[in-house]
């Protein structure tokens, strides 16, 4: 499993560098921006008052954006799950199926490794990659603390990152599960992406519209603390999110154990409206039998 973990991490090193360094730069920039914002507090308050509360709900609602938690939420943690969620769902949907669609999984699995080791080794590499990206983000904020007047500590800034990590693991694992259930990686990534955006919209608007609350109960981002986690992590939602992620992981693992590994060019099942195409095998399929 360690070999699989290492190889997956090696493959994703540039994602870690690219996404991590981008977040680090954004974090440093946001910390630098805090002081000038506080200095123009009065003008900014007038400006935000002019916006509708529906608009502000997408940036963490109407909390005090000049507090540590409020600022971090407004400037970063309110929208970043959608941005980094793209990385999580791309990695998750491709964890196993990308190799299958490229045709390389066949040969990997012909080596003496169990499907369980391959699956969980790569899943752990996914968690490690997301953790590394968020650690670089945290490093950017931690570095900025020395010159900004933000009333918080490096440890406190780490807490919303942990909440964010749990959400990213959830969406990454959901994408993995869907990639083993749906006909293609692209479809799995698209469906997960749509669910992520829908969750963001529902949870944001539910803070200003009570009628959305029943729907919001099923929205993963409802259980995401965002910047407010600087005041302490809420263990219940965090563990629930990770628990559901693990459940999707176990379901995906069970699907993978029973899966007929496809070779490049072979199709999986197709959607009903494409069923006519199923009757005849493709040339590639016929060649491979």
């Amino acid at each position: 499993m360690f070999t699989i973990f290492n190889q997956a991490l090696r493959r994703w090193k540039w994602q870690i560098v690219g996404w991590g360094s981008s977040l680090l730069i954004i974090a440093v920039y946001l910390m630098w921006l805090y002081k000038p914002m506080v200095e123009q507090q009065a003008q900014l308050k007038n400006l935000f008052d002019a916006y509708g509360k529906e608009m502000l709900s997408f940036f963490g609602g109407t909390v005090d954006i000049f507090s540590a938690g409020g600022y971090l939420n407004f400037a970063f943690f309110s929208y970043v799950p959608v941005a980094i969620g793209i990385l999580a769902l791309l990695l998750g949907s491709g964890l196993v199926v990308a190799d299958e669609e490229k045709g390389t999984l066949d040969l990997i699995l012909a080596h003496p490794i169990t499907r369980t080791a391959l699956f969980w080794g790569r899943w752990l590499a996914l968690v490690a990659t997301l953790t590394a990206v968020l650690l670089l983000s945290w490093l950017g904020f931690a570095m900025g603390l020395s010159w900004t007047g933000l009333d918080t500590t490096a440890w406190q800034v780490l807490l919303p990152h942990i909440s964010l990590l749990s959400i990213l693991i959830l969406f990454g694992t959901l994408a993995l599960f869907l990639s083993l259930l749906l006909p293609s990686r692209t479809l799995a990534a698209s469906v997960t992406g749509a669910l992520l955006v829908a969750s963001y919209i529902v949870t944001s608007l539910a803070s200003v519209n009570d009628t959305l609350e029943p729907l919001n109960t099923f929205s993963p981002l409802k259980y995401y603390q965002g910047g407010s986690a600087v005041n302490g992590l809420d263990g219940g939602p965090l563990l629930s999110t990770l628990g559901i992620a693990l459940l999707f992981g176990v379901l995906a693992w069970l699907l993978f154990l029973r899966r007929d590994v496809r070779v490049s060019g072979e199709g999986n099942w197709r959607l009903p409206f494409l069923s006519r195409k199923m009757k005849a095998p493709t040339t590639n399929q016929a060649m491979l039998w």
């Binding site: 070999t3 699989i4 190889q7 493959r11 490229k102 045709g103 390389t104 066949d106 040969l107 990997i108 699995l109 012909a110 080596h111 003496p112 490794i113 169990t114 029973r258 007929d260 590994v261 070779v263 490049s264 060019g265 199923m278 009757k279 095998p281 399929q285 016929a286 060649m287 491979l288 039998w289």
Partner: protein
């Protein structure tokens, strides 16, 4: 169990893909130390059979034993002792050949001797420093051959091993297969190139539409098949005298010669011909290709 004389055993293997039945009850036995050629056209079920042997896909029915083990229950042991070359080889494009081979070796617990890997690469004319994305189909196939052989497995499962290779490298791969056999390995390879099977295989299995229709020693299969003979007579054709010989039929005739088809031994025919002035007598041994085609024409 490890010394079982039967290295591969398949009984009643069935497998469907949707509505298409790829295997309809495959029965096979491959003996320890032999080179077994699995012959069939595209779509006959060769690849499906091989992939079931490694538990890459699961059969719908039937029994499989590889090296005396159930590949579904003992996949690790089966794969550790096997080398596999897929029919459609795809590699990680961003890596060099050396990195790819090292990654495969890591999955095998770094058991390959790297000096041997280099010598295999040299013999096949494969540059280890080249990036996979810059490799031609033939060069990718060479990587596949090296990774299948590099840990000196006791069982080689090769799906179309010489596909995409030029004739010189094909000969080198044939030599490597011969050397593996000499070292005690069992080789099971699929091919639709009949000359290759005829050259390499001790025994051959012919698969047709998901069923193994014939398994025999390669030479026996060739010998057992129909022969063809052309006889030129000195004093006009003597067809009536030959018509009653069991197993002999006349395919065509000209002014002074006959073309005959003989099933089985030629003894009776030769004794009958001895009574007449024969100027020329030519026989043709059928190639495996003709035998193969005969199975497909049935």
């Amino acid at each position: 169990m490890g010394d079982s004389p039967i290295v591969l055993l398949a009984q009643g293997l069935t497998k469907s893909y949707g509505n298409v039945q790829a295997l309809r009850g495959v029965d096979l036995e491959v003996r320890r130390g032999e080179v077994f050629g699995f012959l069939g056209p595209n779509g006959a079920g060769k690849t499906t059979t091989i992939r079931i042997l490694l538990d890459l896909i699961r059969p719908d029915g039937g029994t499989v034993r590889v090296l005396g083990l159930d590949p579904q229950k003992d996949a690790l042991a089966v794969r550790a002792r096997s080398g596999y070359l897929p029919g459609e080889l795809h590699l990680e494009d961003t890596e060099t050949v050396e990195t790819i081979l090292k990654q495969f070796n890591a999955l095998r617990g770094r058991k390959a001797d790297w000096t041997y890997v280099r010598s295999l690469a040299d013999r096949l004319g494969l540059d280890l420093k080249t990036q996979a994305k810059n490799l031609s189909k033939g060069n990718k196939q060479k990587v596949g051959v090296v990774q299948a052989l590099m840990h000196r497995p006791e069982l080689l499962l090769l799906d179309e091993p010489t596909g995409g290779l030029d004739p010189l490298i094909q000969q080198e791969v044939h030599k490597l297969i011969g050397e593996a056999k000499a070292d005690g390995a069992t080789v099971f390879f699929s091919s639709h190139v009949i000359g290759e099977v005829e050259q390499l295989a001790d025994r051959v299995g012919i698969i047709r539409k998901g069923v193994v229709v014939e398994v025999a020693e390669t030479q026996t299969l060739i010998k057992r098949a129909l022969h063809r003979a052309r006889v030129r007579f000195g004093g006009g054709i003597q067809a009536p005298a030959l018509e009653g010989i069991p197993g002999v039929s006349i395919l065509s005739r000209s002014a002074d010669s006959l073309t005959l088809q003989i099933e089985g031994e030629m003894d009776a025919l030769i004794k009958a011909l001895a009574k007449f002035p024969v100027i020329e007598f030519e026989t043709e041994r059928p190639s495996l290709e003709e035998i193969f085609l005969a199975y497909y024409e049935r």
